[in-house]
Symmetry: C2
Amino acid sequence: MDLKKYLKEKKEIIDKALERYLPMEQDNFGIITKAMRYSLFAGGKRVRPILCIAGAEAVGGTGDQVLPVACALELIHTYSLIHDDLPAIDNDDYRRGVPTSHKVFGEAIAILAGDALLTEAFKLMSCPELRKGTSSGRLLEVINIVSHAAGYHGMVRGQVADVLSEDKEVHTDTIEYIHMHKTGALITTSVVSGAILSGRPKAEIASLKSYGQRVGLAFQIADDLLDVEGQSHIMGKGTGSDLKSKKATYVAVIGLNGSREMAKHLISLALDAISSFDQRADPLRAIAHYIIERKY
Amino acid sequence: MDLKKYLKEKKEIIDKALERYLPMEQDNFGIITKAMRYSLFAGGKRVRPILCIAGAEAVGGTGDQVLPVACALELIHTYSLIHDDLPAIDNDDYRRGVPTSHKVFGEAIAILAGDALLTEAFKLMSCPELRKGTSSGRLLEVINIVSHAAGYHGMVRGQVADVLSEDKEVHTDTIEYIHMHKTGALITTSVVSGAILSGRPKAEIASLKSYGQRVGLAFQIADDLLDVEGQSHIMGKGTGSDLKSKKATYVAVIGLNGSREMAKHLISLALDAISSFDQRADPLRAIAHYIIERKY
């Protein structure tokens, strides 16, 4: 399959939907919408929404069916980036080549824009548009697993572990803990929620969960590798920044080669997990390969 | 009716439920749970959960039926306080007589504890316990109106307006805008969501919405009044702090007497809105009176 074309098509569908769900506003206090949109349209690759759609398609569902949930996942991801970049947390001035939210809008609005994006994600996941085509019970299940993955047993906990590990000697198990929570939980849930909305049996959901966990971890290792190897002008931020700030990364603990091998191994495990799926899972397979081959 | 007894009983039920929904944890990164619990159990009056329960009771429902949603509303309220208190926003060191979250746990953990409480609220509203007793469609409707009220068209927008109005000359309409969004939206939704979960016809919901809007605004005016009149040792924070920081308040614009009259007027309008309800709405009536009579 032509993955490049697939990713481009899906990204366009998602960008259009995000534009529709979060339109510009003319209001005295529309600065909040401006800040939300600034980060939402700052060049994200839409990995989570695409995984949600590909997860749905892999089990016979359609992208249309899951579009609001797919977009909600991108809202949650974007909120987490805005808050992570804050001076009190990672203190990053640039992301994807442009100034971070708090550099443009100030810290107060950046905090509130993150809060608003997170809240809006749940409004999207409960919107009447979705309720028309999907059973309410399934939607509630998805809201439940997404909030679990994003919350203090998932993404937030990973961020806490990351913050507490900074400037400390960390071991592989802590790094795995951080990555599994900070990035892995939401990526796994993206794949799974697409499939749940399409009403699939539990065995298939479990396979997709395994796929998501492995791909999620590989994705983060690839990110760590890119931070060291990537070219600054492609990545849009100073490379090597993780090492400089003594961030807990795989590269720092098991080295470049070890990290590359580990990412490759995880991808082959991810492919194993969905080996019984038919060709409708080809996008998931192609995405797994792409994750360790991408250059930005 | 004996309101004091009613409030005490409901508060105990809510506190017990919150304890059950957010228990202590023994984990390396359990600091996040500690921070969430610190603010959640820092002496809140549980106004929003009690209004949710009273709203359900007023239309023949029960508190048990709505308990997770009632608690979710308190989680959302608590998150908003933690983020509002941050140095970048209101920069408050004390609330209810104890140091604010960022003074105890640092800014990074305070931001993340707020994020986690907000996220957990949606996990509670979609939890299996609720799904057993209530139709999924109604739950989704409640998630939708709560996220609307808490988000960038509701509470967050009120906070943005508040931030942008600081140190500026403001008029009554801006103050009403701030209060209706920052406090009013979530209070209104608290009353309404209890009734929706109890499956009532739209006419009754509309009456409860009017009640909530008026009570919500009166509640905030009463808060502004207490900030000026209240005794520091009862309020647990330095009184007059709003005036000192040039916060937009009713008292600053229409004075003490004007504000008192306005709060009273709003309460009588709130009572009018539910005049056709039977004695099961007595708690809502008593709460309305209490709001302008309370001393802290």
